[in-house]
Every structure is written in structure tokens, then in C-alpha cells.
């Protein structure tokens, strides 16, 4: 047998991949029509993001489910949830593996260019979670020189990195596949601080008294939204969902949901806005 020629093989692999890129075809119909026709809205998310989407004793649970249920009933479709590790969620959306992402994801300038976001659904300002018995951290700046963690590929992690760079002695930062793992390592003592959006860590701290939120939040004011692909087919879907969100603003059901899951209603924009980050 001939020995495989390394260079040739790598090249053939490269051409294969490039050929595939060229062969890519795009669906042309309107996504909202498609969804209504099949009666199912495929939604990607990650069920390690309490209280938006998480697993309570194996059962899917969280604000996302209740909110999207309302969306589903207004559009007359059922919701099919696809649970993925967060680093895979956005690529999956782009690849067309589902119609919509109810992450939720923090709305950033960069992401706004790339995706079609819905109206905000919650506050997303980033703060620090620490162990309750750890007295060495009183303000966000106290994480200087310590070990902190965040979710790989999240905007919260980027905020943490930006904040850390300003500190006299930048903390070591570990990147986790999901936030459940960061909380686990915080409990195990491998890290001293987790940076995540306030609603998430506030909820986690009420569920697990061993954790405590460090006030005030260190991040810029930010909001969570859902997203679709930034193409013509998806525009009508986002519009339709925005209408549902607006009606929920008006009838107070969005505030009700926020009170149920975060303990208090949140002040969030009900129209398009320019994110500060």
C-alpha cells in the first residue's frame, strides 16, 4: 500500500470543505409561514441557565418555557426544545438546525449585527457570585488576583475579561461549557467568583444559600433577548414574536413572569434600542 501523502491529504480535505461551502444552498421560503405550516417552532437553548431554562429534577423548567408557551399559543404552533451546550447554540442557529434561539442571550452591538434579536425580555447586567462564607470578596474589585469563571462563548465572560483587565492583579479566568459547571466549581472551591447576569445569579443564590451575590453589578447595563438568523426569511418570525412580547408588556403578563422568576418586575425597553456593550 502507498503511504498516505500528508500534504496531499490535507489539501484534499481542504478542497472538500471548500467545495461543501460552495454547494451550500439556502432555503427561500418565509420562515414564519414554514413554522405555521409544520405547526412546530424548533427552539434551541441550553438547559443549564437557571432560571430561564434549567432542569428541575430532570424536568425542563424556567421562564423561557412559560414565555415561549405564550408565544406558541398566539402563533398557533407547538414549541420543540433542543437542548445544547451553549458554545453549540449559536452555530446551530446559523447552520439552520432550528428556527430560533430562546437562550436568552445578552444583546450586544456585535451580536446585533450578526443576529435578529427580539425585544428584551429581562435585565442582563453582569455581577459576581461568591461563596457566602468567603469574606474576602465584598466588592467586585476584590476578585483581583483570585480565580473566576464564566461560560465559554458568552457575552458575560467577555465582560468579565474586560473588567478583569482593569484590575491591579487580573484574576485567572476559567471558561466553562455551561454555568452549572461554574457553580459546581465555585462550590468545590476551585474558583472564587462566577460572573453571570444578575437574574441568573440572584436566582441561584436564593436556591442555594451557600452562594451570595456581590453588589453592585460590575457590568454595563444590558438586556437579554431571543434571537433568529439575520436574514429575510426570519424577519417575519421575529416581528410576530415581538408583537406577542409587546402585548405581554401591555397586559402585564411579562412583569408577572419576571416577578415569579426574579422576585421583582424589571424595567426593560419595549422598543428597539442601542446596546451599550
Amino acid at each position: 500500500m502507498k503511504k498516505p501523502n500528508l500534504l496531499k491529504l490535507s489539501l484534499s480535505k481542504l478542497t472538500l470543505a471548500l467545495g461543501l461551502c460552495l454547494a451550500a444552498t439556502s432555503a427561500s421560503a418565509d420562515l414564519l409561514d414554514d413554522v405555521k405550516e409544520r405547526g412546530v417552532l424548533n427552539v434551541g437553548t441550553e438547559f443549564h441557565f437557571a432560571p430561564f431554562a434549567y432542569l428541575d429534577a430532570g424536568q425542563q423548567s424556567g421562564l423561557n418555557l412559560e414565555l415561549m408557551e405564550r408565544v406558541g399559543s398566539e402563533l398557533g404552533v407547538s414549541i420543540n426544545w433542543i437542548d445544547l451546550p451553549w458554545p453549540s447554540v449559536l452555530p446551530g442557529l446559523e447552520a439552520g438546525n432550528y428556527d430560533f434561539v430562546a437562550g436568552p442571550a445578552m444583546i450586544t452591538q456585535e451580536r446585533k449585527l450578526r443576529y435578529n434579536f427580539t425585544l428584551p425580555i429581562a435585565d442582563a447586567t453582569v455581577a459576581i457570585l461568591k461563596r457566602a462564607d468567603d469574606d474576602s470578596i465584598q466588592t467586585p474589585e476584590d476578585i483581583s488576583g483570585k480565580a473566576a469563571g464564566g461560560g465559554r462563548g458568552t457575552a458575560q465572560l467577555e465582560q468579565l475579561k474586560a473588567f478583569a483587565a482593569e484590575l491591579p492583579e487580573p484574576p485567572t479566568i476559567t471558561e466553562y461549557v455551561d454555568y452549572s459547571q461554574t457553580y459546581a466549581d465555585l462550590a468545590a472551591g476551585r474558583i472564587d467568583a462566577v460572573a453571570n447576569s444578575l437574574p441568573n445569579i440572584a436566582y441561584t443564590a436564593t436556591q442555594r444559600p451557600m452562594f451570595e451575590v456581590v453588589q453592585p453589578p460590575f457590568g454595563q447595563p444590558a438586556f437579554f433577548g431571543y434571537m433568529a438568523r439575520n436574514d429575510e426569511e426570519s424577519a417575519s418570525l421575529v416581528e410576530a414574536i415581538n408583537e406577542v412580547l409587546l402585548s405581554m408588556h401591555e397586559d402585564g403578563s411579562l412583569s408577572e413572569l419576571q416577578t415569579k422568576w426574579f422576585g421583582a418586575p424589571m424595567d426593560i425597553p419595549s422598543e428597539d434600542f442601542e446596546p451599550e456593550i
Partner: protein
């Protein structure tokens, strides 16, 4: 140390997930076998182009970690014209493409061990090349490589622990979810390891018995 109520509660959930794990790995293995047969026969073909294609396939799918392959398939599948790929399909696709490379290597060994006289005899009887492969050579190659094939199945069942990256709630993902909701990491992962062992160890022993049987029948 061990929380029995939690364990009993988790069993039905793990049971359902086990079915998904078995479904993916068994189907992946079956399709992988078809791919493996194809690639192995390509490698033994006379045409240099076919041989090189078969070789490249094995080089790529054995050279890239399964985790990366899963990501690639998940991100790139739509370019094959497969949008809205259900997680189960993506997982089975990745597992079968990967195991196909390994099975091809196993079958190639088995096919090479068959005396060429048999092919010549079948050829003289007027059998076509595919017919010879399917009716004469493959059954023998499978028989002589069965222990390795069983071993490959065990490896695939273990590899399937990675399929959650394409969104499939397999055994590992469910245990991970359970652990992150009650923080009983050690317990859940121990149970998880136990379930894998309960499937894999008997399979391994079965493979070993086949091997001994084979050695005896050849001796």
C-alpha cells in the same frame, strides 16, 4: 454518602436516556458497518483513485477527534442540504461516519486474509465483483473479525457519551443534568459509569469468548 431516594428517582430518567444511547450507538454501528464495507472494498480495489479515496476517508475520520467530528457535522450538515437536522440523526451520522473508518480497517484485514483462489474460483463461475464481495468474501471476513467488531461496538457505545454536543439527551447528558440540579456529582457519575459498565463488560466478555472460540476453531 449515597442518596438512595435520589438514585431511585433518577432511574426512570436514566432508563429512557439509556435507550437513546443504545439506539444511537447500535444504529451508528450498523450504518458504520455498511460504510466500513464500502471503504474496505474501495481500499482493496484495483483503481488507484478508489484506493486513495478510501485511504483519505480513513485518514480523516481516524485522525480527527470524534468531538470535533460531531461539531463539524453539526455545523456543516446544512451545507449537504440537510437543514433542521434532528439531533438524533446528527449523532447517528457522526458515529457511523467515524466507526465506518475503524470498521473498514478491521474488515480490510479480514478480507486480505481470504485466499485469492476463492475469488478466482467465484469469478470463473461467472459471479460479478459485488456479488463475490457480498456472498463469498464478506461473510468470511465478518466471521474472522467478529471479536474486533464487537470490540468496536463497545468503543462506539463509549464514544456516544459525546453526542450531547449536538443536542441529544443521551445517558451522559441526563446524568450531567441530574448532577447539576442537585450537586450530587459523584453519585450520579458513579451510577452513570456503572450503567456503561453493565453494558460494556458483558459485551467485552462476549467478544473475548468469541475470540477464544475462533482461535480454537482455527487451531
Amino acid at each position: 454518602m449515597f442518596d438512595w431516594p435520589t438514585f431511585l428517582f433518577s432511574l426512570p430518567l436514566l432508563g429512557k436516556a439509556l435507550l437513546i444511547t443504545l439506539q444511537t450507538s447500535l444504529l451508528g454501528n450498523a450504518i458504520g458497518f455498511v460504510i466500513g464495507t464500502l471503504i474496505a472494498s474501495m481500499q482493496l480495489a484495483k483503481m488507484p483513485l478508489l484506493r486513495r479515496l478510501g485511504g483519505s476517508y480513513i485518514f480523516i475520520f481516524r485522525g480527527v477527534p470524534l468531538l470535533v467530528q460531531l461539531l463539524v457535522i453539526y455545523y456543516l450538515a446544512p451545507m449537504f442540504g440537510l437543514p433542521n437536522l434532528p439531533p438524533m440523526v446528527a449523532a447517528i451520522m457522526a458515529l457511523s461516519l467515524c466507526s465506518g473508518a475503524y470498521i473498514a480497517e478491521i474488515l480490510r484485514g479480514g478480507l486480505l486474509a481470504i485466499p485469492s483462489g476463492q475469488r478466482e474460483a467465484a469469478h470463473l463461475l461467472g459471479m460479478s465483483r459485488p456479488a463475490i464481495l457480498l456472498r463469498v468474501e464478506l461473510p468470511q471476513a465478518v466471521q474472522s473479525t467478529l471479536p474486533s467488531l464487537v470490540n468496536e461496538l463497545v468503543l462506539l457505545i463509549k464514544s456516544s457519551a459525546l453526542v450531547s454536543v449536538v443536542g441529544l439527551a443521551d445517558l451522559t447528558r441526563v446524568a450531567q443534568n441530574l448532577a447539576s440540579s442537585d450537586y450530587l456529582f459523584f453519585q450520579h457519575y458513579l451510577v452513570l459509569a456503572g450503567i456503561y459498565c453493565l453494558i460494556n463488560i458483558p459485551l467485552t466478555m462476549f467478544g473475548r469468548r468469541l475470540e477464544r472460540h475462533l482461535e480454537r476453531s482455527l487451531a
